[in-house]
Symmetry: C2
Subunit: 567 residues, 2 copies
């Protein structure tokens, strides 16, 4: 357990800093880490929880190879589609292989070879394995590494309905897994992306350092990736907005400048943004106080590439400098956010320098090609699933993802079965991932302070940390030895710091490593027949009689285990 | 658990055939396998036994990456030395990496970075990991695959003496591991090969199909790789052998032909073999009934390459056709086996067609350059370690290897520590491997018959196999369900074959899969209130009352677990 005083030069997030300083991991190459004994114990505990819950959910563990023949990826079409993140190489005979970043092809091949009849379905198989993704910029330690450990599972069913039952079972198993890891998380509706399918959830560990943005209802269970969130549409009264009139707005380009100059609310403005969608310009309209949800926009337009146009391109498309673009009289296609429908008396750019229009009646004055929900959800939006709830915005770390795949892989790869009528049909699939190493990192982002980690007991490397404050004092050593031996004999996982180090350094290391319960044995308290007991999560220590401490600690550990479902 | 009736076309050994037919593994590419649920359960059980025993021996588990930077291998010098078995590739930035076939470089780098003082030693670290060796001819299923699972451990000590203590601890842990796996094995002295060091043992699972040849004493513990075995030297009386005389031996070229023609024992002949040692000819003399131990010969000569000379080369070196070569008057260097020392009255080739010498007194007549123990051990050789014991020859499968490395890696890679006097010294290392997947295969080679596998209970995929013979009969189903549920509730690992299949097919599958205890529930016996119980290893089944069977089986399982140390 080598601890370090210095943080690694490139480390910015707590999980990276504390895992290196605390002796959990060591970098071998960019995004590639050694797990030292302490780190490996944490990974093992997470793996055990995953295994217990997946076995309970009826899944069976397998192991697929890391080295995968390129042919299989050619068959699914991903050999061409996957970018340089796929680590490809040739074996000594020149055959093409890759280091598996995910195993859809292999599992589909495995199942199609041996599973022929509806009687053999459903099948749900999982593995826990080291994977490799050759990230361009690996960063943040285990948060985005190149070699990482993942649990991936795949379900095969006879019908969409059955597949959704499997999906639900995995969803519930994931809830139990992250709860047993002692993590605070939200399950959010997620984008199904390029793969298709219509059902996908992300399991997000909440932490301020999370790179994903979520919205969650403050009164019901609804939560979603901000880009996926369903929204209520504004109810514009319509009518009475007056006539369109150009007004001077010298040098007022931004929403804030125009609103301030005209003494109106930003929500009365219509923002006009020009995008290049598959290289063709399109004008996108949202309210002045809203942002564009580019994921939804891209899906709505059905394009492969989508970029905000540069200044010159915007000027070419609208005839006006950026800041004065507006939708009236535009010759490029216009897509408008549903919230603008029925809006009257609004303000927008006039496609002329230093001019805006007032009195805009969008349905009267603008040739909207497509109406669609295009704005990004935000804090304060009213929840779609309940009355009265509003969204809060949270930061999350994606640690799990469940995905209903339908027949996206089984169809092209001929993974079929004979149904009860003897008809050949493609199996309905789901896939389910947990980032095992990332879960460890996320646990730290959520459970740490400025001194170090505060592990939930269920995934802590040890349950109890025994600290000998005077390791040369015979009484202290005898007391520590006895406590250590007795706790171990009662099945408690104990680490014992018997190093000849300064007391301050030992306390600092204990706080850094983050074992939940600490027993400090020092000469002074021992003189009173006592030792010091402290939860890492609490501010203060308490004194406990040296003869009572083992029973007391066993009781605390057992209660905490029960709370977290440790078996 | 998909079972197959047909063996894979390329499968020749039982472990390969039964693991594929029984649904334990499926080939994905040459030497690359999927583990199906049944196979993975076996691997997991072996891994658990390994972990328990290594933890008990004071080793700590870590995990090193599969993808290793080429630089580290350059530092140790192995990047250039290792052949095409090392799978090398470049990442997206063009940096060189390999898929680790072994992790000496990585662990040495890990330990040298964090371990500075004698106070932090010894350190003993292990991992269980998928490795890759790009074998030219992968074969025999898991016996020689390309991607395989290995447990590798590395010890670091302050001195040779301390390193040998670590070595001994691992040696003993290995004995416990293979004993708990229920395997019959021998620990043999092994060649330390090119690496150097002077201490190495192989753990060999005994099986007729093993590719290694061992000699083992029939009365004491001594065993060795046949090429490494220590031998007693023959005690030749010397004297009284008469004068050297050439005799006609027309067309008698082989030892058998000459012995038969001259009516002498093969042991009275001196065999002369010409080798090319680093391309230079050398004559090697052994007794007529002995074979040359080329491993010892190569080491004795201190050469890099050693080949038996071709016919023409032998003729050029001796002036006589093969079969008539002899040591008298040879101009090339002569190496003689110690067993020939003092031999008189012997027969050898005369370096002339159809002629042999009789009356050979080797020390009088031959200019032996080097005396050395060069013959290969064989059945009937007297044991060196005990009185009265003789060697038997066994076939084995190497499943484990312990190796005292000394400073072979720590010296060039600067893995040093400060000793008690503050002096910098290189750490003394040992390395210790177990082929986890190979152990599963070896277990089958040793424990199988012509119907399938006979798993030792400790590594069997399940402990008890419940067979419903009439899966449509309500009474049979009710009895099976009850037995299954009750056994599981009592902590027994049960697999339940409730398929709608012919009874014969179900019995055949049970024998193939090889679960130790089988409970067959059939209508007829159930009419008498009984079920059929059978150990897979026994020929006959017994009848047990249906109400007594659960208690009875729990008792049998617990006794077998205790015998094998299952925790």
């Amino acid at each position: 357990m080598p601890t370090l005083k210095e943080s690694p030069a490139d480390a910015q997030v707590r999980s990276h800093i504390y895992m290196v300083r605390g002796g959990f991991i060591r970098q071998l190459a960019a995004g590639i880490y050694n797990f030292l004994p302490l780190g490996w114990r944490v990974i093992h505990k997470i793996e055990r929880i995953i295994r217990e819950e997946l076995d309970r959910a009826g899944a069976q563990e397998v192991l697929m190879p890391a080295v995968i023949p390129g042919e299989l990826w050619q068959e699914s079409g991903r050999w061409a589609k996957y970018g340089p993140e796929l680590l490809r190489f040739k074996d000594r005979k020149g055959s093409e292989f890759c280091f598996g970043p995910t195993h859809e092809e292999v599992i589909v091949d495995m199942v199609r070879r041996d599973t022929k009849s509806y009687r053999e379905l459903p099948v749900n198989l999982y593995q826990i394995q080291g994977k490799f993704r050759d990230e361009l910029r690996p960063r943040a330690g285990l948060m985005r590494g190149r070699e990482f450990i993942m649990k991936d599972a795949y379900s095969f069913d006879v019908s969409e309905q059955a597949a959704k039952v499997s999906y639900r079972q995995m969803y519930e198993a994931y809830e139990r897994i992250f709860a047993r890891c002692g993590l605070s998380f939200r399950v959010v509706e997620a984008d199904t992306g390029a793969i298709g399918g219509d059902l996908s959830h992300e399991f997000q560990v909440l932490a301020p350092s999370g790179e994903d943005t979520l919205v969650a209802c403050t009164s019901c269970d609804y939560a979603a990736n901000v880009e996926q969130a369903e929204l209520r549409t504004a109810d514009n009264a319509g009518g009475g907005g007056g006539a369109l009139a150009a007004v001077d707005t010298p040098n007022a380009r931004t929403i804030a400048e125009v609103a301030s100059f005209l003494r109106i609310e930003p929500s009365s403005l219509v923002k006009t943004l020009v995008y290049l969608a598959d290289d063709k310009p399109v004008a996108v309209l949202v309210r002045g106080d809203a942002a564009v949800n580019e994921v939804k926009l891209k899906k709505q337009l059905g394009v492969t590439t989508l970029f905000l146009a540069r200044e010159k391109q915007t000027e070419a498309a609208t005839g006006a400098p950026v800041g004065f673009a507006g939708p009236v009289g535009l010759s490029i296609p216009i897509v408008a956010d549903e919230d603008l429908r029925g809006l009257t008396g609004a303000v927008c750019g006039a496609n002329e320098n230093d001019k805006h229009y007032t009195g805009l009646d969008i349905e009267r004055d603008v040739e909207v090609g497509t109406w669609s929900q295009l704005r990004l959800a935000g804090a304060g939006d009213r929840c779609v699933k309940c009355d009265g709830g509003v969204f809060e915005v949270l930061r999350g770390i994606e640690v799990g993802h469940v995905f209903y795949l339908s027949t996206v892989y089984s169809e092209p790869m001929g993974c079929t079965f004979l149904d009860e009528e003897g008809k050949t049909r493609a199996m309905e699939m789901g896939c389910y991932g947990i980032g095992v190493t990332r879960t460890a990192a996320a646990a730290i982002e959520q459970n740490s302070d400025d001194r170090g980690i505060v592990w939930p007991l269920s995934i802590a490397p040890y349950e109890v940390h025994v600290l000998s404050l005077q390791p040369k004092d015979d009484d202290v050593v005898a007391a520590c030895d006895a406590i250590y031996d007795l706790l171990r004999a009662r099945g408690v996982e104990v680490v014992y710091d018997d190093r000849q180090e300064r007391t301050g350094a030992k306390f600092a290391d204990a706080d850094l490593i983050g074992v939940p319960l600490r027993i400090a044995v020092g000469k002074r308290a021992l003189g009173d027949g006592e030792v010091e007991l402290k939860w890492r999560r609490d501010a203060d220590a308490t004194r406990v009689g040296r003869d009572a401490v083992v029973d007391h600690v066993v009781g605390l550990v057992e209660a905490e285990r029960a709370r977290l479902g440790v078996k």
